[in-house]
Amino acid sequence: MSDFTEYKDVIQEGDLALIWVSRTMIKPVTIDAKAVFSTRYGSFPHKDMIGKPYGSQIGIYTRGSGKFAFIHVLQPTPELWTLSLPHRTQIVYTPDSSYIMQRLNCNPQSRVIEAGTGSGSFSHAFARSVKQLYTFEFHEVRYQQAKDEFKQHGLLDENVIITHRDVCKEGFHITSEDTTSHDFSSQNKKEITLDADAIFLDLPAPWEAIPHLEKVIATDKKVGLCCFSPCIEQVDKTIEAMSNNGWTNIQMVEIQGKRYESRRQMVRSLDDALGRLRDIKKRKLEGVKRRYQVMNEMTPAEREDVERNHKPLTDKAKFNPFGKGGRVKEGDENFTWKEVTKVETEIKSHTSYLTFASKIVNKVKDEKLVEETMQKVYV
């Protein structure tokens, strides 16, 4: 079983683990008793992790400042894996991928086609939930990278077959002639029967690939299709191709995912604001009086010095209900706070349009099967 599909208990040598440093820094690591995981906060030897349950916090005191620093060692899931990828990579994020999987009713019976593989992030989510994933990548370097990664993650031994292919030109067949992760040598068959019932196309021109689907999809059940395109004009061409190729129930949707920060805002009452102004006013009046007194008692030279240098003669404010002037930490217990949410400063306002459709190739009654079943029902 792979690091992704087995629920692991304890961190062991050779495991693929994700090390959580912060929300924006999650690093994949292969556990190796001789290795050390280094961050700018300090170094964490793998041997401190081995034998501990997954999810363990690993702490050290930094050599320099003696501060307590820590990381968490997590078992990878497809969603955590997605978070760990560099943000520059074009990835299908969880709000989109999870909706697509739900809408295509992905489950342990599903046979899924994905093109293209890209960063392989969505492939992991599919692999977790379906019976079989056929993924296609046309870019040779990316194909090789993804294949290596899938192998390392144990996915190729389970339910993933990756093939190097321009599906728009050559379709989805996988034969022994192809550059593919599937090992034909052990079998007599020269070709795989895909029998796919869910298809996800993340291609610049999905309309070129759609006509090729007919030959590889299941013929006796309803098959779901989803095309993922950033521009609206691509959607238009996709709908056209879907219609022309007998796909029905065409619907395009957008998914908008948002992440909120939990924050606190200080509760500052009008009464306190008025109290503060009253305090300032009082202090000012007293100041004027005192200044007058003090100035009267000064020598002319002292007086000149005070005036020339604008020396203050009034006290600082005493009633300071909002901690003005100082730095108040959000949530400081000396003040009252209201819990508020704040959406991320920069939101992903658009990923791609999702165009769904479905198709039943052979809308015929399987008379023989019905006959057989009927005999069972009517015993």
């Binding site: 916090q57 709000p95 489950n107 059940k221 309803k222 709908i239 939990s262 809308k363 079943t373």
Partner: protein, 466 residues
């Protein structure tokens, strides 16, 4: 037959209707299913076709005779019974209708160009000359139309008749004509589709029924994200609270087993431990699932919060009942044997529950409850294995906000995050593409975090000074 592929007997299916409403039916052998004003059909006629097939009901002399006979047999009671028709497959070209057309913006090219052209009526370039007179302009009365429905063979014929009787149909623009036709079509088409009842289909049915509050206003996209974030798999053991009447558990079961009972696979032995705050759990919606009772009982364990947090001790359980040695058992009277086995079963169940309450480290916590979450989550967390997801659903953002604040300082929770996801469907008609003008608000929010195991800083050796 594969109940994921094919329409089978004794299966619960979703039937969608031209009115865009849906119903759930159980396909009893030899039974009939009534779709109200859209007609009725014989179950046996649809068995064996792929799920997702679209049918049209039609009536001929044979069906008329059959219905007469039934009426006579059953007498008065059945007077208002929907006549049962025959079904035929929808022609593929008619099926190519785009979805999600809204009443106020319908593409005539795609939908009804041929009907209008066939009728040879003219149309106006604008609606300029059309004065809104509501139904007055339609010369056929409702009664007329009802009569027509009784005699006509297809909805198309009814609609053609209605158009001919419309006083100012030619004053409408082509666009308005299409709108009018689409409305009428929704009313008279005897078309239905039989769909596989997955979680999304069940949810859609409940939304159509306006049962949104009963299911905590949960949307498909939110539950989809929940399932992925919770990393639901067929080999996991999950703690769950479900105030949606079983909808959430239904979704989880689909994701875990896909409607197929495959109990020999060692990787498909996962369980959902459902905690409930009442004496009895409410998982009503599972009645629509196609799993056997045995399968459900194996994979879904229900425990009340009290049983979970304050279980009987092993001693209590064992002291209340002491199994007899085999010899004594044989000697028991038949009348006492029943009682003995009931008690034995009770003990077995109690000992099992004890394991679930005390020993299992769960692979995820999925809560959809209106109980106050901060206390609940902090009490449950020690039952969750490290590095496993904790996902809480709430209809309200403020609820998950409060929760996430309360979890921030507790080192057993890593990175509590508030998430929202919203799906925005489009009217997907080429040349008339736009988001639907109105849609359901709401859909709920998620708090997502990972269970982690804090270390005591005191136990960490301090580095030697340089």
């Amino acid at each position: 037959m594969d109940p994921q592929r094919t329409i089978c007997w004794d299966q619960h299916v979703l039937i969608t209707l031209p009115s865009e409403k849906s119903k759930i039916a159980e396909l009893k052998p030899d039974g009939t299913v009534s779709l109200g004003k859209f007609g009725a059909f014989h179950v046996n006629d649809v068995i064996g076709y792929p799920l997702g097939t679209k049918f049209e009901i039609f009536y001929d002399e044979e069906t008329e005779k059959w219905n007469e006979t039934v009426k006579e047999m059953k007498g008065k009671k059945e007077k208002n019974r929907t006549p049962v028709g025959k079904v035929r497959l929808m022609a593929p070209e008619k099926e190519a209708t785009p979805t999600s057309a809204e009443d106020n913006d319908v593409d005539m090219d795609a939908i009804q160009a041929d009907s209008i052209n066939g009728l040879n009526v003219s149309s106006s370039e604008t609606n300029k000359d059309l004065i809104n007179m509501g139904n007055d302009i339609q010369k056929m009365s409702t009664a007329d139309i009802e009569a027509l429905k009784q005699t006509s063979k297809t909805s198309q014929e009814i609609i053609n008749q209605i158009i001919k009787s419309h006083g100012s149909f030619d004053k409408k623009t082509v666009h308005s004509q299409a709108k009018y036709l689409k409305r009428k079509q929704k009313k008279f088409d005897k078309i239905f589709t039989i769909e596989y009842l997955d979680g999304s289909a069940l949810l859609q049915y409940l939304i159509d029924k306006d049962d949104i509050q009963r299911i905590m206003d949960m949307s498909e996209e939110t539950v989809g994200m929940l399932l992925n974030l919770a990393n639901i798999r067929s080999n996991g053991n999950y703690i769950c609270m479900d105030e949606t009447g079983g909808l959430l558990v239904y979704f989880m079961m689909e994701r875990m087993f896909g409607g197929i009972e495959d109990d020999n696979d060692p990787l498909k032995q996962g369980k959902i431990i459902v905690l409930h705050e009442n004496e009895h759990v409410n998982l009503d919606l599972l009645k629509y699932s196609n799993y056997s009772e045995a399968f459900i009982n194996k994979h879904i364990v229900t425990i009340s919060l009290l049983e979970f947090f304050e279980p009987l001790t092993e001693e209590e359980i064992k002291s209340r009942f002491i199994p007899l040695p085999k010899e004594q058992l044989y000697e028991l009277k038949a009348s006492k044997k029943n009682s003995y086995y009931r008690k034995l079963k009770w003990q077995k169940t109690q000992l099992e529950l004890l394991t679930y309450s005390n020993s299992v480290q769960y692979d995820g916590m999925i809560l959809a409850t209106t109980l106050h979450l901060p206390q609940l989550v902090k009490r449950l967390v020690d039952h969750i294995h490290g590095s496993r997801p904790i996902i809480c659903y709430s209809q309200f953002k403020e609820v998950v906000l409060e929760l996430s604040h309360s979890l921030y300082d507790d080192l057993r929770f890593l990175a509590p995050t508030i998430l929202e996801t919203r799906c925005r469907p489009y009217q997907t008609i080429r040349g008339k593409l736009h988001p639907l003008m109105t849609m359901r608000g709401g859909g709920g929010y998620l708090m997502s975090c990972q269970r982690v195991i804090p270390v005591d800083p005191e136990t960490i050796p301090k580095p030697l000074p340089f």
